[in-house]
Amino acid sequence: MSVSTLVPIEESQTDASPRTVRGRAMRARALSRQLAMAVLTILLISFISFFAMNHSADQLGKNVLGRQATRAQLDAFAASRGLDRPMIVQYLDWLWHFVGGDWGKNLAATQQVKPIVLPAFTHTSELAVITLVWSVPLAIAMGVAVARRGGPIDRGLFVVMTVLAALPEFVVGLTVMIILAVQLRWFPVSSNAIGQGTPAEQVKAFVLPSLTLGVGVVPYIWRITRASVLESLSAPYTRAAVLRGLRRHRVIWSHAFRSAAVPLVNAIAINIIYLMGGVIIVENVFAVPGLGRLLLAAIAQGDSQTALAIIVLLGTVFVVLGLLADVLVTYLNPRLRGGAR
């Protein structure tokens, strides 16, 4: 997932330390190339999506007006949305307006796209952040702890984590809902207070979906942490550090964990991407007004204005995440900094 794998190997092998002008220039070129590739990819995806959704004006008309729409109504509909123009013209028109800040109206022309998509994006981001804030440290702590100790706790946890990871989201979601919302009544059944309730209501509304999502995130992060930490703990440099007399705590966290963190950063990035765009089921079960539901509805209806706005938004988020992950990985792993090998 690391974007830096796009950079050809030769570059990092020449004498291009970031401290030199040449090194900085090379990094800048590599970065701009990555950005250009990313932008191109997003454009390509939007292009393909647009064509896939807009190929049948009649179907779009029936989606909005109902299956019994008359010929006259369908024609009026197509004319008002500009669906009778060549597709490439429609696409370029959309693109031109989009980069200018005008995201257009949804297919039913009942509202503007921006005031619908941006709040949903905010809610999904909030849910993602809240979930990561508790699940990632927990998973890492557990992963490091058992990697050190091993034994029956490790094996037991392995089984538990595998089972949790295997449970489908709506099973976890409905179970959590039945226990905590219906039986104990500690939290609301539906999380629609997100974005419109009082602060107290909103906080409560985030708990159940976050819990459900966390149950999916924790096993994955835990396993990666555990595996990488185990690997670095058995590496020669760890042994060397111990023999040098460093304290156990420093050995684990400053040395072993630091190398183990590389695959971990990638794993977390992947999870963030999933939490941003893939949590449709949890959003449905808890009625969270988020991006997943919106995107699915837009695609099914053929609402290209809304769908593309979300696709581009998510694409941008992924690109930024990828770059951040890269920077972090480079910081953690000095070999990637372009220093002399």
Partner: protein
């Protein structure tokens, strides 16, 4: 049914209107959710749910409604309404010209207090109710009705009422001689024009010049709009100046809960008072609880099998007759909808309708069916490829059940699957054998849509001049009693010559907290909160 309800595939609700984007999730989540809840939920008992407690209506309280059938493109324009979410809100804000009884289709005054045809039913004169005010305080006049009727007729507004009225009049046919009179001049006779139009939930009367924005929209109805978040929910407050008497409820708050299982849990937990419809599989989860009642809407829709009579093998009437005789309707009802419904004999009206031809009973005769097939040149049975979609709620249930039921007569049905969104453009009306569902309507509305010469949705491609003549005669007759007799005659004629197979009417069900009284939800999809109260 196409003519009256702008359906799109799929919902498990009364209206089954919007596109089935969530069909996959609904199917998956619902399937396992249902099993899950059956395991964890209350024990299903057959205790009766008619907890219509007597007691004096109490003023006050906020009704909480939970709705699954919703979409972010829901609008406040009655003509564009496609989901239960939009219908419930729009129905409470706007009134129609007349209220229509869901079984007899007789009209009672609402915004119109009298409606008089001329002798040959080519002109209608409406007298409007006096003293009605819009929610913003302005007066309701004939100008508003004219504006609304023009919207119905204008293709640009995309109103779903268009197909009921556009064949019968032009925009120039609307005149308003004075603020409380509207005259509609028709180009063809239609003695049932107002009943046809006012049956449809898109026929709410809107204010002249309205733009349907949440901030400014005004209706004449029992409730006023307080907030509107498309796809998320809405809230209404009581209209104290309502011409029909102020409602008991202070307010109604609706939230969208896409997952049927979660909606059910909300009802059981007591955080929801009323819901939109549930799929049949979840009804058991509502039974056996004291605080919740499962309400059934009897005969909410009929499932239709259409066969193209312009091509073999359906061009032979013996084949059609054989298919009908081979369909064991009672078994079909039991296996596809757990018995929740009533069987009918291939007419689009339920058995309690005054238009149901008296004495007509469905026949089930396997031997005769096989004989007819043999006579028609199919001694070894018949192969049928039926278009269906598992994305439309209920459609594959009945398709698969029917497939099993007719096997015994040697009719081999192969199911051709379409996705919910492509079904209505690729399969419906385009394939030789396909499924459809029709809601309750006046038979003349069904004739216009599915039977008559030039009907846009006649997938049988068959024409029957005597039916056309009967339909014309009905619409030219202003005598209601005479019309009823003619309707029965016409339905028998339609049944005789058209291939539509209509084995049953199926019920719909929704949940109501026991403390909620006075809620009216009829077979036409009209939800009436105006006389509801919370005990």
């Amino acid at each position: 049914m196409a003519a009256n309800h702008p359906e799109l595939p799929d919902r498990d609700s009364v209206f089954t209107l919007a596109a089935s984007r969530r069909s996959v999730l609904a199917a998956g989540g619902l399937g396992l959710g249902a099993l899950f809840l059956a395991a964890c939920g209350g024990n299903p008992s057959s205790s009766p749910n008619d907890s219509k407690a007597s007691g004096k209506p109490k003023k006050g309280g906020t009704l909480r409604v939970s709705i699954s059938d919703a979409d972010t493109s829901d609008a406040l324009d009655p003509g564009l309404v496609l989901t239960a979410n939009a219908v419930m809100c729009v129905n409470s804000i706007f009134d129609r010209l007349l209220n229509i009884d869901d079984t007899t289709f007789q009209a009672t005054p609402s915004l119109a207090t009298s409606w008089t045809p001329n002798a040959d039913a080519t002109e209608w004169t409406l007298k409007l109710r006096q003293g009605v005010k819009w929610h913003d305080g302005s007066d309701f006049t004939s100008k508003d009705v004219a504006f609304t009727v023009n919207r119905w007729l204008d293709p640009k507004s995309g109103s779903s009422v268009s197909l009921l009225i556009a064949p019968y009049m032009e925009a120039s046919g609307v005149t308003t001689p004075d603020p409380s009179t509207v005259v509609l001049k028709l180009k063809k006779p239609n003695s049932l024009l107002l009943e046809s139009v006012c049956t449809h939930f898109g026929s709410g009367i809107v204010k002249d010049g309205t733009d349907f924005k949440a901030a400014t929209v005004a209706g004449t109805g029992p409730f006023k709009l307080k907030s509107w978040k498309p796809g998320q929910g809405w809230s209404l407050v009581r209209n104290d100046a309502y011409w029909g008497g102020a409602p008991y409820l202070d307010a109604i708050e609706a939230t969208v809960t896409p997952d049927q299982g979660a909606k059910l849990q909300g009802v059981l937990a007591g955080s929801t008072d009323v819901t939109d419809t549930f799929p049949v599989a979840l009804w058991a989860g509502l039974q056996g609880h004291d605080n919740v009642a499962l309400e059934t809407i009897k005969g909410e829709r009929t499932w239709v099998f259409t066969f193209d009579q312009s091509q073999a093998p359906f061009d032979d009437p013996r084949v059609i007759e054989a298919i009908r005789l081979a369909t064991d309707r009672e078994t079909l009802l039991k296996t596809s909808f757990q018995g929740h419904g009533t069987v009918v004999a291939d007419v689009p009206v339920p058995t309690d309708s005054p238009f149901y031809p008296s004495g007509l009973k469905p026949e089930y005769d396997l031997a005769k069916a096989k004989q007819l097939l043999a006579d028609a040149g199919h001694p070894n049975g018949l192969d049928i490829e039926l278009s269906t979609s598992s994305g439309v709620a209920g459609m594959s249930d009945i398709a698969q059940a029917w497939q099993q039921v007719v096997k015994e007569a040697g009719i081999n049905v192969k199911l051709k699957e379409y996705t919910a969104s492509t079904y209505w453009t690729k399969a419906w009306l385009q394939t030789p054998a396909y499924q459809d569902y029709w809601h309750n309507n006046l038979p003349t509305v069904d004739f216009d849509a599915f039977y008559r010469k030039g009907a846009s949705w006649n997938g049988t491609h068959h024409e029957d001049p005597s039916l056309d003549a009967l339909a014309e005669q009905i619409l030219a007759t202003t005598d209601a009693a005479k019309r009823t007799g003619l309707m029965q005659q016409a339905l028998l004629e339609a049944r005789k010559t058209f291939s539509y197979l209509m084995p049953l009417f199926v019920d719909a069900g929704y949940a109501r907290a026991s403390k909620v009284q006075g809620l009216k939800w009829n077979k036409l999809g009209s939800v009436d909160f105006s006389r509801a109260w919370i005990a």
